[in-house]
Symmetry: D2
Subunit: 336 residues, 4 copies
């Protein structure tokens, strides 16, 4: 079959790099356009690990040029910048998977947490790209809003318990991410000496992923208040979230999970505690749950850059173009 040409816009960051790596190995997509805000040089200048592997030229991102050669663009751009590109690309007839937050929230929530939205028109039609809840919509979407990493792990952990969570009780999410989740920005917050042998929460109860989690859960039937506290782990890659919930009545938590996800390819239910290394390098979300009387503890692990960003984007691309959801999507963890 003819391969589909695709573009990665915003190729200098970590999620851009992951997209390049995934697309390089994909049987049906051809990575034909790599763009950054500046352009120039080879891909291996941006990412020296790709020397002799991906040596194509890096362009200064230009929607019109992309429209000439590609059918799909992945946007690995900062919030706000993404919507400028998305709008123009969509109007040129290119399908878009946006890895930023620009199309994930309702207009109201977006403007409350991120500021003025400049593309309300497409916001209305954007599909939240979590295949487990929106698979059929994604297949037909022109614009997919790829979920945040914390929301992916949190929503997948909580959804199965929809009918078991006690009304009007708070849900607490204690979340931890590796440092790659902060991107390549350079502040003392990412300094090795600061992070190493340390563990720190940040934006407790005030992180912008909290409304994303709450809004999506709400749309899917979980109306409880969400209280979210993220932390920085002294590791490069991976994410683990714990949710603490109060139940209407005692349940067998593992059975609930197993039944809910029995047909899913990228969710694994674990008999024992999930761990970050079991999913790092893959698109899997591993989940473990245990309940005791009126409460339950649910814990999920994902690779923040893959299931939390670029590999999930690839499953969305597969769905949009009618391919198997798992085509070219990594399943083998880096372990050891």
């Amino acid at each position: 079959m003819k391969k589909i040409n695709v573009a990665v816009i915003g190729a200098s960051g970590y999620t851009g790099l992951e997209l390049i790596k995934l697309l390089q190995n994909h049987p049906n997509f051809t990575l034909s356009y790599i763009g950054t805000s500046e352009g120039g040089g080879k891909t291996s200048d941006l990412h020296p690990s790709l020397l002799h592997v991906v040596d194509i030229d890096v362009k200064k991102s230009n929607p019109k040029e992309i429209a000439k050669e590609c059918e799909l663009a992945f946007l690995a751009l900062p919030h706000k910048t993404a919507m400028d590109f998305a709008k123009e690309l969509l109007e040129l007839g290119i399908r878009v998977i946006d890895l930023s937050a620009d199309y994930r929230l309702s207009l109201e929530n977006y403007e409350k947490y991120y500021g003025k939205h400049l593309d309300e028109k497409h916001l209305k039609d954007a599909v939240y790209g979590l295949p487990e809840i929106n698979r059929e919509k994604i297949k037909k979407a022109s614009l997919v809003a790829n979920p945040g990493c914390y929301p992916t792990a949190s929503i997948l952990a909580l959804l199965p318990f929809k009918s078991f969570i006690k009304e009007n009780t708070p849900i607490f999410i204690d979340a931890k991410s590796g440092v790659s989740g902060r991107g390549k920005k350079i502040t003392y917050g990412e300094h090795f000496v600061h992070v190493n042998e340390n563990f720190i929460s940040y934006n407790a109860l005030e992180h912008r992923h909290e409304p994303e989690i709450a809004e999506i859960l709400n749309k899917n039937g979980i109306k409880n208040d969400i209280h979210f506290v993220p932390h920085l782990l002294p590791i490069t890659r991976g994410m683990l979230i714990n949710a603490y919930i109060q139940l209407k009545e005692p349940i067998n938590a593992k059975n609930v999970l197993t039944k809910f996800y029995e047909h899913e390819k990228f969710v694994r239910i674990r008999d024992e505690a999930v761990s970050i290394k079991m999913t790092a390098g893959t698109n899997f979300c591993d989940i473990f749950a245990i309940s005791k009387g009126g409460i339950a503890f649910v814990s999920s692990s994902i690779d923040n850059l893959l299931r939390g960003a670029s590999a999930q984007a690839l499953t969305n691309a597969n769905l949009m173009f009618g391919f198997d959801e798992d085509l070219g999507v990594p399943k083998i963890a880096y372990v050891p």
Copy 2:
């Protein structure tokens, strides 16, 4: 003044090592007896970092010999072994600080979680060695049960909120410890390849520190159910616990903390998130809290081997012998 001779029994592990280091620098205690189950060699054979610093002989632990030269013994022994030594030492008139769990719980709870107790006589009189709640009792105690690390961090975080926590709501504690908390045992659970770049919960809702936390909180007026999930952090030293509570009414969480601990030397209230590196190397417990409507998030950080074991034992020793609580107790973190 005449210095007090003390013994460290169980000197080969990490808490034993920390006791040796602390006592070596203490102005009023003389470390005159270092014992292990086997005896033999110099201290620097057990702990090569002490070469040319502490070179005294290691004895095969013998209560009668200890009684001849010491007034106080620190027991850094496994559960069960500790009570054999404690019993004999107490009957020989030696005061004891036990770092194991043997004298921390009620008889009922002990036998439920640890098995048969063999020294009920002294269990009755043992004082739980958390100075912030038992300072006056510690001063007069013959036997101090030094608290567990997770309980120390959890109880100090929760106590100030006693009158604000809503009745009959669960308290969730999401706790994380460095690997030194597992001691020197050698299983794949402590293997570098397993722990590094990883993060894993263990014994979720079933850890033996859960009843210790619940029992002490209960005695001090917090009757809510405690649900405790500990994790292993890929770091050597340090501990951070998060407690999620439901409130009777909105509060200013920081003010509650500040007022409660205004006279304490080893609790610091932080304006921002606590972190492990701020307390590693010290006896401080740093606490941060924030509330939002009907819930609060309280987070505390300690050095698991110092405030969570050996340095807290030293503050107890200071109190038992009438010295300033902070005499020779470390306050300067290892940072950077």
Copy 3:
């Protein structure tokens, strides 16, 4: 085309795991037999990261059964055990790639460093599996002795300088490996607390890879004495070696490297210092060299489990069966 059935014997360790992962993705080999000394359970019981990815049964390794279904066996076994299997498999007509040291050295050197050899017959015909020096021999070999990790990195770094190294001067190799190089054994030497925030040499001037490096270099024209000091890095995966050499006359070290390796697919010459993360996850050997007057510094980086073991074994398998050397061999590093 018909796929080739292959076996992995010794599947419980790290190199066994890497072989399983590589073969699972290989287009022309089918992993049809996974054996351990005990057998039993599924592959994902041995390696939980493989749940829902590789779920085939683990057998108790049996050469006769292997001979029935496979054309090639990879031996990821301890030294000594390997030669028992190799011998029997070869006699049954199965081709063998042995990842142990059993067939790497001359009989004399083997018996000096490892003890009695029990398969002298096959030792004579074994081919040292470093494609850059033995490509044509590997294609025809029945038995390939897969090189050690340190020797792979060291030999590839030094070979290009054969005609430039001053006679009778010592070559010093300062080598560093991640902890996965020690395998899954469990001693205090692999304990997280011991390794983390640490850096230690071991077996200085006495490591068994020193004679392997010296023997292979000697056969290839470098007769100088080799002095080798390995270290343990506080990382999981990766290896970097530095060689310090004395020159006959000034050279342009980079040009020497570039010319020597211009036709090689798995050696990359770097303009700047090599680093472990650039090769971790791949079969590349990255090399950097700089000279100053009469000396040169040559530095190479490999993934100790891939180029240093399992992926190099796969390039050998490709050669043995007439496939492209890089078929199914990883080139994309795990970075970030």
Copy 4:
């Protein structure tokens, strides 16, 4: 006795922090002045780990004010800035210990590697502050040039072999440092994601500590060429250097070391490989050596911030004021 008032100028960096920590615990020095380029706030604003421990005001560094109250100033300033302060302080009659490179080298070497020197007058009288070679001169010095970290470890390792090293053979030093050695600057080179799970050389054969090592060794009788390659270890603190030397004749390397350092308090000769954790937190330099025929391998370990900077500065201060060299100087490693 009356305590000596001292100042720390450049208190915001890591070596400044270490000086503050050391002086806070010193019996004979009083830390009465803490200065930064901006001034303002409390010490615990600069270094939050010092909350409730060192809460004195931070001043905008002013030599005249310092001169009014202090007898000694420690300069923890960047190269170039240091000499401006040193000059003025010396002229005001204050003794100075400079932790920068400004007074370590001959004028010729300084200007070759660092640029124009602006205080030749005092450069002539500065004493290189390595007590093991300059103890008596330090006692009388007004200006001590505190050695670099790599030079401290390298010189102490090599000096004992002065009469055994073969003439006209190169000495190779393969050196490794924790990230705190790079200070608090913020570039991608210190980013956690870049450093973690990595290992990289930098400035191979071109680092500015190479001439410092060579010049001091030369003055002390070792005339061989020095070839120096430093690396960044994925750890916070600590340094290990390996020196490879060629010998006139076989020696017992350990005996050479033991004899050379038999009267030194801060050098420990090890029977086994030195390691970073054995010295981290102390002023010790641990050394291990082994020889084989005509070569020897010498390895030393120090804490880069303590023996490599601030604690060595304190031993110099002790000597300058007639105190015991080890007064208040840390000897107990952070281990575990």
